[in-house]
């Protein structure tokens, strides 16, 4: 600051005090001060706002137009970057400290000899303000930078999750190979060094792997992307796990900085041969559940990938019949400490995993991972992966397969799974031996008819992009050799449902039945569910010619209410012994008092309210479920 000229704005209403300060500043030769004197705050602010520049403000807090902290605050507001030195009349450390806390850079006590202190105080205030401004700028830059990094980490995390097998792929593996796969993945510090994956091979084979890079965070995550890319390039050529590991090891050895490595286990499940072939590179030992539920740890010895260029790996083989499960996991599951201070270890993990294993369905991954995180506490010490692959029983309940003729979203697939079914893309060939697949699509006369015709056994309408509010009876009916239909009210209204269903019933169960009666019953049941059930329209208005107009208008209005038009109407048909048929029609309306209407006989000439009486006359039994929302009829086989 040598030989500088500094402009000082002195705000002081006491002429004596002002004079003292001004003369003290004139004494100084280095720096040289030029002083502008104002006696009011308004005058000072006026100068600043008019664009005059100053290097420092000497500010008396008690002015004719402002007092105390207010004076400081208003001066600061006028120009944020100006260093301010407070002048107080009393040597009151509280006032001075308050001013410093409020953002002044220094203070002077007027009674002190100004010639000794004022120049020093000004220089101090200026350099302090500079430092402050610099700090602020740095903090701002850091905040921006931090935000950018946080955004990029969030993006990287999303990308890492995107590397995980998609639900569609798992559904396909389940449908094609009878392998149920479920996985849990949670990076410890937003992104991490773990991953698991799968690939479908030729001839009933599927590849599954997990790997874990040393370290976690950004560096490890980058390695994850590298190795995932390497594996993806091989994908359908993985026939020999040990050879594949040797290949990956050589590439990683050249790619990774010294000291970085990955543990990995690579498995091939061959559903035709009924075998599991695996090769390991120092991963935790996979747990194998045999068909009888016995669990054992598989040998996973092998040099981690990327450590030694010439590492060799071994293939190991064991049986993998239906009801076997393979559990793969990352080492955090062995190394985390329990509240007791003990590590879980292999035995502890084996015990825990056993508790969540069922022969038919394998390890319940969501519950197991929940239990594990609860036991060791979050946040986890390292990235966590847990995957279970289960060979589904060949006999026993078959998982219904929904062929999706629509964009296959994760949500939709989740909803299909929620029904206990698997989703299968429409354009792909059905897996051989698929019994009774179903069609899941937006409704059109074509798709509804397709879902009812061979080889399909039912149609589910995607309403507003979703498959929700499906009655449990639908898939039951299919499992019992029948078919089902779940459509919106507007589809039911416009798609001549009774005709479509009637002809399908004849085609499937055509040998013996009183079809005229069935048709009449279908007509009554569907009409009731649409009009009185889902659209909630009373039939009384349909008494006269004028009433017909009101009735038509009521239907038009109800159909234009999206909530009512979207309500589901479901129909199932199931063959019973002795050629009888059970037909069920359900709606989502308010229901009705079935018992009250049940005893009515047909009243000739009545213009409404005849439906149930008619059905009674035409069927063996009529019952109601769910408060009248579901009507179940049984019609006899053979001619009546």
């Amino acid at each position: 600051m040598a030989l500088q000229r500094l402009r000082v704005l002195l705000v002081e209403d006491e002429p004596g005090d002002a004079r003292l300060v001004i003369s003290a500043l004139r004494e100084s030769r280095s720096p040289v001060f030029s002083v502008v004197h104002e006696t009011t705050l308004a005058g000072a602010i006026g100068r600043v706002q008019a664009g005059e520049t100053f290097d420092v403000v000497l500010l008396d807090l008690s002015l004719p137009d402002s007092r105390g902290g207010d004076t400081l605050a208003r001066m600061q507001a006028a120009e944020r970057s100006l260093p301010i030195v407070i002048m107080t009349g009393l040597d009151d450390p509280l006032v001075a400290e308050g001013a410093l806390e409020a953002g002044a850079q220094d203070y002077l006590v007027k009674s002190d000899e100004p010639e000794r202190t004022v120049a020093r105080s000004i220089r101090y205030a200026i350099s302090r303000k500079h430092a402050e401004l610099e700090r602020q700028a740095l903090a701002d830059r850091l905040a921006v930078e931090y935000e950018r990094i946080a955004e990029e980490l969030a993006l990287a995390r999303t990308m890492q999750f995107d590397l995980l097998p998609r639900v569609e792929r798992l559904a396909r593996i389940r449908a094609r190979l009878g392998l149920a796969v479920d996985g849990f993945f949670e990076p410890s510090s937003n992104i991490g060094g773990d991953l698991w994956g799968c690939a479908e091979g030729e001839g009933g084979r599927a590849v599954f792997y997990t790997f874990d890079f040393s370290g976690h965070g950004v560096g490890a995550a980058l390695n994850v992307f590298r190795l995932h890319t390497l594996i993806s390039e091989l994908e359908d050529r993985i026939a020999d796990p040990a050879a594949t590991l040797a290949h990956l090891n050589r590439v990683l050895f050249n790619l990774l900085p010294r000291g970085q490595y990955a543990t990995m286990v690579l498995t091939i499940l061959d559903t035709e041969a009924g075998t599991l072939t695996w090769s390991a590179a120092g991963s935790p030992s996979p747990i194998l559940f045999d068909a009888d539920g016995g669990a054992r740890l598989l040998d996973s010895r092998g040099k981690p990938l990327g450590i030694s260029a010439s590492a060799q790996y071994t293939n190991r083989v064991t049986e993998f019949p239906p009801r076997s499960s393979l559990f793969l996991y990352s080492d955090v599951m062995l190394e985390s400490t329990l509240p007791s201070g003990e590590m879980l270890g292999e035995e502890g993990l084996l015990d825990m995993v056993r508790g969540f294993h069922e022969a038919e369905t394998g390890v319940d991954i969501p519950r197991l991972s929940g239990r594990f995180v609860e036991a060791v506490g979050s946040p986890l010490a390292d990235d966590m992966t847990a995957v279970c692959i289960t060979r589904l029983p060949l006999s026993g309940p078959v998982t219904p397969l929904m062929v999706v003729d629509a964009p296959v979203t994760e949500d939709l697939i989740g909803q299909v799974w929620g029904l206990g079914a698997a989703a299968h893309p429409f354009e792909e060939t059905l897996p051989t031996g698929t019994a009774q697949p179903l069609v899941l699509a937006s409704a059109s006369p074509d798709t509804v008819a397709m879902g009812l015709a061979s080889p399909y056994s039912g149609f589910f309408e995607i309403i507003d992009g979703r498959l929700v509010d499906i009655g449990s009876g639908c898939l039951d009916a299919v499992a019992r050799g029948g078919f089902c239909l779940s459509v919106s009210t507007s589809t039911a209204w416009s798609s001549r449902l009774a005709v479509v269903v009637g002809s399908e019933l004849r085609r499937r169960f055509g040998h013996h039945c009183d079809w005229e009666s069935v048709d009449l019953c279908l007509g009554e049941l569907i009409a009731n569910s649409i009009i009185h059930g889902n659209l909630a329209i009373q039939s009384g208005m349909r008494e006269t010619r004028e009433g017909l107009d009101r009735y038509s208008e009521a239907i038009r209005l109800a159909m234009s209410d999206p909530a009512r038009a979207a309500k589901r109407l479901e129909l199932t048909a199931v063959p019973l012994p002795a050629g009888r048929l059970q037909i069920t029609v359900s709606d989502r309306g308010a229901g009705f008092d079935f018992a009250h209407h049940d005893n009515k006989a047909i009243s000739p000439g009545a213009k409404h309210g005849q439906g149930l009486a008619l059905i009674h006359k035409l069927t063996e039994t009529v019952t109601s479920l769910d408060g009248g929302r579901t009507i179940v009829i049984v019609v006899q086989g053979g001619q009546r």
């Binding site: 009449l520 017909l548 038509s552």
Partner: protein, 101 residues
């Protein structure tokens, strides 16, 4: 549901085809309006082309009957098939209409 009017010396004939059911009420209202305008002539509904009927559809026939008030005698229902005939018999509609199967 579709319909077609023909006139001959003996009266008005409405040939109905398709489904005479809960979804047909708006169309059927058109039939009744037209019949009421030409009231006094004998009316025949030719049901030979009706593939389905339900209790709402049957109710529509009764509304027509009431509106025409017996002018021109009983309404004739011609050639009901299968399930349609079954419905007419079950509900004893054959007592209120002149059913010609």
């Amino acid at each position: 549901m579709n319909y077609q009017f023909t006139e001959d010396g003996s009266g008005t004939c409405v040939k109905i085809s398709g489904e005479l059911n809960f979804a047909a009420s708006n169309d059927f209202k058109g039939i009744i309006d037209k019949l009421v305008a030409g009231k006094g002539r004998a009316v025949t509904f030719d049901l030979g082309g009706v593939t389905r009927i339900d209790s709402v559809g049957l109710g529509l026939l009764y509304i027509a009957k009431e509106e025409l008030g017996g002018a021109g005698g009983k309404i004739r229902l011609k050639s009901p098939q299968g399930g349609v005939l079954k419905m007419l018999r079950l509900t004893e509609a054959d007592a209120d209409f002149d059913v010609q199967s």
